[in-house]
């Protein structure tokens, strides 16, 4: 019998709304219970004094690049980066090569993860073949193979009728459809938010309306179909408003927001740094504020990193030629701690948005420290100050707008099913 005692931390359990200082006992990969001065007999002891102890983070939106683009990332390197970032479960998007639109790919990802990843990996399957927005995927077979949700992420599913059918069909497999809400015609190759910054830089602009139109369209289709619609990486104020209205109406519409859309504005792009290029783009301060409010109010249930590694040489090109996306795992916690520091979210609610929110949406274990649940735990030092250097991180890629910046808040331990998979002193550990 393997026992681990996490001693003296501030336990934050969103599932039971617990916020208390206590010991947490883990036995055989499950949470045994919490209490004061628990018996540490034959237990490995982790000193968590001054730290937070919370359910391991769950990221419902990541790109692990395997199969096909292992030069950017693979399930092993991505899984390690996730562990170092405090994540214990991550969902990976379908835009691999080949696209995860076939159960064989889904199974391959799950097998690779079992062999190579310190954290659990849940594939999100494509909603349409080849992400082309034309022919629906075999959702039942994909679901059976282990897909937790469906998404053409990276593409916008332009044809409204196809989207309608995807939403209708998804009801059969009881999974959310995650949409990348951007009207590709209106986006018109835009690479930076339309506004002062796009005019200043003279780069093609991507207007907020491109997201708003698509969110409004998909909500209308959801109203018609009664499916479960999830808006990925919400970035605009109006999108938050539309989701709020749909939820008030009683529809099953949910949303996630990324750490960068919660904290950075389009002004980051003023230096033409391609590590600030992503889709949707960084928006205005007003949009950032609305996204934060949406997260606080529960209109958006989850923080998702949209971890999107790209090789250095792919990003070292003209701004409009650079691929979209940035690293997310290893900076997520200190970045989103901004909301706690600004008194917008309580530590408990932040932990909810970092784990339970996503776990519920994709229907996986996590987000809880109740006795009997799987012991996915993260120990966090909310005060630690450190400097982020992507070259020292676990991802194969370097594309981060936070490179070289000072961070406040640090992951100290990550435990998956009771095993320490990351320890600040020793790094990522083999299970």
């Amino acid at each position: 019998m393997k026992r681990t005692l996490i001693r003296g931390g501030r336990i934050l359990d969103p599932a039971t709304r617990t916020d208390t200082t206590a010991d947490l006992l883990i036995e055989d990969g499950k949470i045994k219970g919490m209490g004061v001065d628990l018996d540490a007999d034959r237990a490995e002891v982790i000193d968590a004094s001054g730290c937070w102890v919370a359910p391991g983070f769950v990221d419902m939106h990541t790109h692990l690049r395997e199969p096909g683009q292992e030069y950017k990332e693979d399930i092993q390197s991505g899984g390690r980066a996730a562990a170092a970032g405090g994540f214990t479960s991550v969902a990976c998007m379908a835009n691999t090569d080949p696209v995860n639109d076939d159960p064989s790919v889904t199974k391959f990802i799950i097998d690779q993860a079992r062999k190579n990843s310190p954290v659990r990996v849940h594939p999100v399957a494509a909603a349409t073949i080849g992400l082309a927005g034309e022919v629906m995927t075999e959702m039942s077979a994909l679901r059976e193979a282990g897909a937790v949700a469906f998404s053409d992420d990276g593409r916008g599913t332009e044809d409204a009728n196809v989207m309608r059918n995807v939403l209708e069909y998804s009801k059969m497999v009881d999974a959310i459809v995650m949409v990348h809400a951007e009207d590709e015609c209106l986006r018109n190759d835009g690479v930076v938010n339309e506004g002062f910054v796009s005019t200043r830089l003279g780069l093609p602009a991507n207007p907020s309306a491109a997201e708003e139109i698509r969110v409004a369209r998909d909500i209308a289709l959801t109203r018609m179909t009664g499916a479960r619609l999830h808006i990925a990486h919400v970035s605009t104020k109006r999108a938050v408003d539309y989701i709020r209205e749909a939820r008030d109406e009683g529809m099953q519409v949910t949303g996630e927001v990324s750490p960068h859309h919660l904290t950075l504005t389009d002004k980051e792009t003023l230096g033409f740094d391609t590590s600030t290029k992503m889709a949707p783009p960084l928006r205005s301060a007003e949009d950032v504020e609305a996204c934060r409010k949406g997260l606080v109010d529960g209109v958006l249930q989850a923080i998702a990193t949209d971890h999107a590694p790209h090789a250095v040489y792919e990003k070292d090109v003209e701004f409009i030629a650079a691929p979209c996306g940035i690293l997310g795992f290893e900076t997520a916690y200190p970045v989103v701690m901004d909301l706690v520091r600004d008194d917008e979210l309580s530590p408990l609610d932040l932990m909810d948005r970092m784990s339970l929110g996503a776990a519920r949406l994709i229907g996986v274990e996590g987000g809880s420290l109740e006795p009997g649940v799987v012991a996915d735990v993260v120990v966090l030092d909310p005060e630690a100050i450190w400097k982020y250097d992507p070259a020292q991180g676990y991802s194969k890629s370097r594309n981060s707008p936070w490179a070289g910046r000072e961070m406040v808040g640090q992951v100290v331990y990550t435990l998956v099913e009771g095993d320490v998979v990351f320890d600040r002193e020793r790094g990522v550990l083999e299970r």
């Binding site: 002062f196 830089l201 003279g202 033409f272 701004f319």
Partner: protein, 311 residues
Amino acid sequence: MIGQDLIGIQDLTREQIETILETAQGMAEVAGREIKKVPTLRGRTIINLFFEPSTRTRSSFEIAGKRLSADVINFSPSSSSLNKSESILDTAKTLDAMDPDCVVVRHKVAGVPQRIAEVLDAPVINAGDGAHEHPTQALLDMLTVYQKKGRLDGLTVVIVGDIAHSRVARSNIYGFSKMGAEVRVAGPPPMLPTRVEDFGVKAYSNLREALDGADVIMALRIQNERLKGAHFPSIREYSATFGLDRAKLRFAADDAIVMHPGPVNRGVELSHELTDHRPSVILDQVRNGVALRMALLYLITGRVPKESAPQ
């Protein structure tokens, strides 16, 4: 300014612009001599790195460099990383290894000169990048206006055309505004950039109102390929509404001058007559282009390791 990059007018102070214009006046005198060559930059190497073809700007830099006795090498990679594998930064680093004293960069994508400047020891002069900036064009425009008007402060400058896709418009907006002029922009609404008012300019879609009392009118070249983007319905409609001719010029000040960065689409941005005759100063702009670029090369050329360069 030795060793400093010139990426945009936005980065220059009013005093720096004045220094550049004053130096350019001196260079204009050299250009008027029988022997137009001075030994100033003897032994210096200037590389014209033009990813986007531009005979005019490249020739202007080349003549400027040669008049200062620098060795000027033209390098025009036929493709960029948009369609080929060697990255722009690799190209630039390769050239830097040849120890140039100045690299002049032109690229169709905004931001490339700045990225190149970040990795090169040699100072970089932006010769136009996408719709971002074209600082040497704006400086030569300011020089031309200064010569014609004796001042920049207090003038009303109207820029007409596709402002949204124009680096010339942006650099001129920053430059003339910094020098105390009132800048207006005019064009069909789809050609006026988002929040252009935030840059301190007034935007007009009625040319007559825009021209009211204007001292300087700058027409921009219409790129025919923009038609595909449906920014305006037809050349005929554009010419009728925003093309300048003597009749429309009556709304401007009596002594208004007309400028154009070239090449002119005759009968589109400017009437045939206006292209060749007063108050058009288009050839003065071209002439000043050489003097202005001589001034910049004089002030900037010289390798200063980036770490120790004054900011």
